[in-house]
Structure formats: structure tokens, C-alpha cells
């Protein structure tokens, strides 16, 4: 089983559109399991019409709470908190309180409180789902608004999807990654056989591609690049192609700028469901990815 993670660095370059298209193309001769690792903004389900089979709670870290009946308002908790999460009381004698959004759950206040007024409580921070789609099982999650530990939830979703892929003897685990380079991206990238980085020929696309490739290299994961909206700026496109060449990073396709790609999203379909220049380019991309990922094609096993 091979694990392919789709990343971008910059948001909005077309990661999820590409992931859904690859899921569609891969099922023609592969058994696929999908994981949506963007737990803040899980969009893959919007184009795969998933039917939820299982919903589970995700418990994140613990956060502090102060019992006002016990608190003596000494202020020690506010003194030791480095996350500015303890509200300083305005009237002397009032109890202190923890801002649950700012609390990082370090428990420094819990250990320092002289009267044991503080308890640490695990947070129900999100939910994760197992769903079936026309292209195979989809594991995805939703981190509740403003919660921490997105990396932990991504790791959980990926672990569950990976176990399912092993159980089902799947050929491919397809992971739709989050934007950025921080903890959820590192969690999405971990254990992957290959990272496909979707970029666009813009000044910000080029800048973010460099950082995303740097991250893949940092974790020793081979990377390939797909240039979306490739004809938007020939100058920027050539700069990206040249950069990939100097870094020996294979370019596995150039998708034309085509606003009608959005029509497929509105219909809730992968862009490859109907013929067109973008769909055709993606078919070539998938052949190249397949040739790199699998020495022997799954269909010829």
C-alpha cells in the first residue's frame, strides 16, 4: 500500500479538487482509501457525496478550570500562566477565571495553586467520521471552532485510514493535506511515500512552494509538483518550472486556468467526471504518479 499526500503550502491552490480527481482516476485500477487531513476546513467530502457510517468524539488536551468557591484570589495562577489565559479579577476578593480559548492545558496553574482550586478537564475537541463514497472509504474529521490539537486529530484520522487500507488490502491511501507548514501539515506528511505539491504561478505560490518542498525534504519524503492555473502567468510558471528543475523535483503536470472547474465542485463531482482540458491533464498526471508510486501496476499484479 502506498501513501500519497496532497499539499500546497498556500491555501486555495486546488488541493482538494486535485485529490478528488485522483481518487476518481485511481479507482479505475486501484483500491483506494481516502483521508481528509484538513480538519479545520474539511472539503473533500463536499465533492465525494459521503455517506457517514460511524461518528466518534475526539478528546483533545485538558484545560484548566478554577472553582470560584475555593479560589482565594491570590493571583498565583495568573503569575505563572505564560499564555495569558487567566483573567485577572477586577474586584478584590473575586475568583480568578480561565479563558478556555487561550488555555494551552499546561497545568502550570494547577501545580502552583496553593488551595487546589484548579482542576484539569479533558476537552471534547472535535469529531471524526468514517464514510463510504463511490471511490472507497473516506476518513475525515471536524475540529470544533477554535480548538487546539489539530495535529493530534490529523494523526488519528490518518492512523484509522491507514489501518482500514491495510485491512482492505488497498493499493493507495490518498491524503488531502491542510495548507501551511505547521503541526497539522507535519502530521499529514508523516509516513507518506510521496508528497504531491499543488502550486500556482503566482508570487505567493512560488514562495510557498519553496517552503512546502523544504518541509518534505526535512522529513525525507520525495516530492512532486503539479502546477495549477499554469497559463495564468507564463513568467511565474517558467520560474517555478526552472526552480523544480534545479531542485530535481519532477513536474507532473500543468493544469490550465479554467474557471469552469468550479462548476464540477458546485455539482458535487470531481473535475475528471466530465471531459475537458483540466480533466485530460489530470489523467496524464495520474499516469505519471502511478508509474512512480507503483513499480508494478496494481491491475497487473
Amino acid at each position: 500500500m502506498k501513501q500519497l499526500v496532497i499539499l500546497s503550502g498556500k491555501g486555495g491552490t486546488g488541493k482538494t479538487t486535485v485529490t478528488a480527481a485522483l481518487a476518481h482516476l485511481a479507482t479505475q485500477d486501484c483500491r483506494v482509501v481516502m483521508a481528509d487531513a484538513d480538519v479545520d476546513a474539511a472539503n473533500l467530502g463536499l465533492v465525494l457525496a459521503p455517506v457517514t457510517e460511524e461518528t466518534r468524539d475526539f478528546t483533545g488536551g485538558r484545560i484548566a478550570g478554577i472553582d470560584p468557591a475555593v479560589c482565594i484570589a491570590c493571583g498565583r495562577c495568573a503569575e505563572v500562566c505564560r499564555f495569558d489565559a487567566v483573567r485577572v479579577c477586577t474586584h478584590p476578593g473575586d475568583a480568578y477565571a480561565v479563558d478556555p480559548i487561550a488555555c494551552e492545558g499546561c497545568a502550570a496553574c494547577f501545580y502552583e495553586c496553593p488551595v487546589q482550586a484548579i482542576t484539569m478537564t479533558p476537552q471534547r475537541a472535535g469529531q471524526w467520521f468514517v464514510a463510504t463514497t463511490r471511490y472507497g472509504p473516506l476518513y475525515h474529521a471536524h475540529l470544533f471552532a477554535g480548538q487546539e490539537n489539530s495535529g493530534k486529530l490529523v494523526t488519528l484520522v490518518k492512523q484509522m485510514a491507514r489501518l482500514r487500507a491495510l485491512d482492505d488490502a488497498a493499493d493507495l491511501l490518498l491524503v488531502d493535506g491542510p495548507p501551511g507548514i505547521g503541526c497539522p501539515v507535519i502530521a499529514a506528511l508523516s509516513g507518506a511515500d510521496m508528497a504531491l505539491i499543488v502550486t500556482e504561478p503566482t508570487v505567493s505560490g512560488a514562495h510557498d512552494l519553496e517552503r512546502a518542498l523544504g518541509l518534505a525534504a526535512h522529513f525525507n519524503i520525495p516530492a512532486m509538483v503539479l502546477l495549477n492555473k499554469a497559463d495564468l502567468s507564463p513568467v511565474q510558471a517558467e520560474a517555478i518550472v526552472a526552480y523544480c528543475a534545479t531542485q530535481s523535483i519532477p513536474l507532473v503536470g500543468r493544469l490550465p486556468y479554467d474557471p469552469t472547474v468550479t462548476d464540477a465542485m458546485v455539482r458535487g463531482e470531481p473535475v475528471t467526471a466530465t471531459a475537458g482540458p483540466v480533466a485530460n491533464a489530470l489523467r496524464e498526471t495520474w499516469s505519471m504518479l502511478q508509474a512512480t508510486l507503483f513499480v508494478v501496476k496494481p491491475s497487473e499484479k
Binding site: K10, R62, L143, A145, G180, I181, C183, T202, L215
Partner: protein
């Protein structure tokens, strides 16, 4: 005022600190992918390293009692036999181990995770942070960027913070203490889905007044418009889906460079934001 809208961002929150108009402060808080400098082109004149204070153990004093590991919620310090191991990438820098060590064998040293930079871009006081590649935690860099850039007496100056995409902790850290949030979305099913979650964070969790900018207007469907109408969210600006705008942004031009007529609308947008309830 120069103002960048990036046509391909699915959802970006731009929180404001609202004040009377004078030289604005601009903070690019998307420290994972800081791009605002590509558009505003500041002349960088100051730089500093940032990170977290992480524990360093003096083994001459340490009795390997294990108290440090016991109090660490992040499993960032552990005692194995006669050794103490620290994992900087897991440490949140809370200082618990240092305070709880009965032998006072721990002191703290800065673990550099990124850099902050300052420079002027015409009249704008520009600040941004950059998370080093391979570092996981963006929040400490954002927190220190805000502390460095926003002086306590900022009250008479506008502050614009460019937030990362998404809705998790880096976005929340950016929006903390803002006076309002401007949510930039696109009229597609992806844009609507992400807008809903962003509204939950900005309005419902943080209690900020919010307004919406619809980017790539004309693409997709009418879901975003219907949602904004139903929720009573004002749409303050629509940037049409036009190839010329997309091309200009691709080369690092701002919306007002490409279409000067938007300057009037952006000034109006700023005034409206200042009057949000």
C-alpha cells in the same frame, strides 16, 4: 491604503484593531506562509529571533526524580535511567518543569523557532513573522509578533492583521483582542463551508463583529449570498472573477494597482468596519 485580496484564498480572516486613521500597522500573522511582503514590499530594517524558552537540565544537580516528566502535559521531557531527555518540538515553554524541580536543576534557554521582521512600506509600518521550516508550532511566533509590533499605546492607530487560512489555534491567536474580523471567501461550496466555520470562531467563540468580502465573485453558486443574508452578515466588497485581476495578483500587484477604482470602495469598507456594532 494599499490592501491585498488574494483571489485564490478560500477563506482568510483579516482582523482589525479599530482606531482613528493615522499611519497604519500591518502584521502578516500567516507565519507558516508569510506572503504580504511580496505585495507590500517593505524595506526590512529590523529583525529578531523568536521561539520558546525550553528546559535545560543541569545533570550535576539532577537526581532523576522524575518530577519534571510527571508535570509535563506534552511529554516533552522524560527521564530514562540516569538521563533526562528534552524534546524541544513538543515543548510549549510553559515553565512547569523548571518551577516544579525540587533540586532547581532546570533553567531555560531560547529555542529559536522563527524570525520576526520590521520595515516600512511607504506609510505602512510593516511586521511579519516566519516560522522555520520543520517547526510545528506557529502560535508562539504569532504571539510574539503581536507583542513586538503592537505597542500598548496603539489606541490612535489602525492595526491590520493578515490571518492564516483555516480556523484552528494560529487563526484564534491572530484574532485575539481584535475589534472586528473581515472574512474573505469565495462563492463556492468550499468557500461557504469554510466561511461557516470561520463565523463560528470569530463571531460565536470570540464575540467579534464580522463582515464579509466575496472574492472571485461570479464563479460558483449563490450559497454564500444566501447564507450571509440569513445570518445578517454584511458583504462589504465583491471582487469579480476576472482573469486580468488574477494575472495582476500573480505578479505581485495589489488590487488597487490593477483596478484603481477599488480604492474608493476600500476606503468605504474601512469606514463601515469602524462603525460595526
Amino acid at each position: 491604503m494599499t490592501f491585498n485580496l488574494r483571489p485564490f484564498s478560500i477563506i482568510k480572516c483579516v482582523p482589525f484593531r479599530l482606531t482613528k486613521t493615522s499611519a497604519p500597522l500591518f502584521l502578516d500573522c500567516d507565519v507558516e506562509e508569510p506572503n504580504a511582503a511580496l505585495f507590500l514590499r517593505p524595506e526590512i530594517t529590523a529583525q529578531r529571533d523568536v521561539g520558546l524558552l525550553i528546559p535545560v537540565v543541569d545533570m550535576a544537580r539532577c537526581t532523576t526524580c522524575g518530577r519534571c516528566a510527571e508535570v509535563c502535559e506534552y511529554h516533552a521531557i522524560t527521564v530514562i535511567g540516569k538521563q533526562v531527555l528534552v524534546f524541544p518540538e513538543l515543548c510549549h515553554g510553559c515553565g512547569s518543569c523548571t518551577r516544579q524541580c525540587p533540586e532547581r536543576a532546570i533553567h531555560e534557554e531560547l529555542n529559536v523557532m522563527g524570525t520576526l521582521e520590521y520595515g516600512r512600506a511607504e506609510t505602512i509600518e510593516f511586521y511579519h513573522g516566519t516560522l522555520n521550516v520543520g517547526e510545528a508550532m506557529a502560535v508562539p511566533v504569532i504571539r510574539q509578533l503581536k507583542t513586538w509590533a503592537i505597542p500598548p499605546d496603539v489606541d490612535d492607530r489602525p492595526v491590520i492583521l493578515d490571518a492564516p487560512p483555516g480556523t484552528s489555534c494560529p487563526v484564534v491567536e491572530t484574532m485575539r483582542r481584535a475589534d472586528a474580523a473581515l472574512l474573505v471567501t469565495e462563492p463556492t461550496p468550499f468557500g461557504l463551508h469554510d466561511l461557516r466555520v470561520a463565523v463560528q470562531v470569530a463571531r460565536d467563540e470570540l464575540g467579534l463583529p464580522i463582515a464579509v468580502v466575496v472574492n472571485r465573485d461570479g464563479v460558483g453558486d449563490d450559497g454564500v449570498d444566501a447564507y450571509c443574508a440569513a445570518e445578517g452578515l454584511p458583504i462589504l466588497l465583491r471582487v469579480p472573477l476576472e482573469r486580468t485581476i488574477a494575472e495582476g495578483i500573480a505578479h505581485g500587484a495589489s488590487l488597487v494597482d490593477i483596478r484603481p477604482e477599488y480604492q474608493i470602495q476600500l476606503v468605504e469598507l474601512w469606514k463601515t468596519i469602524a462603525e460595526l456594532p
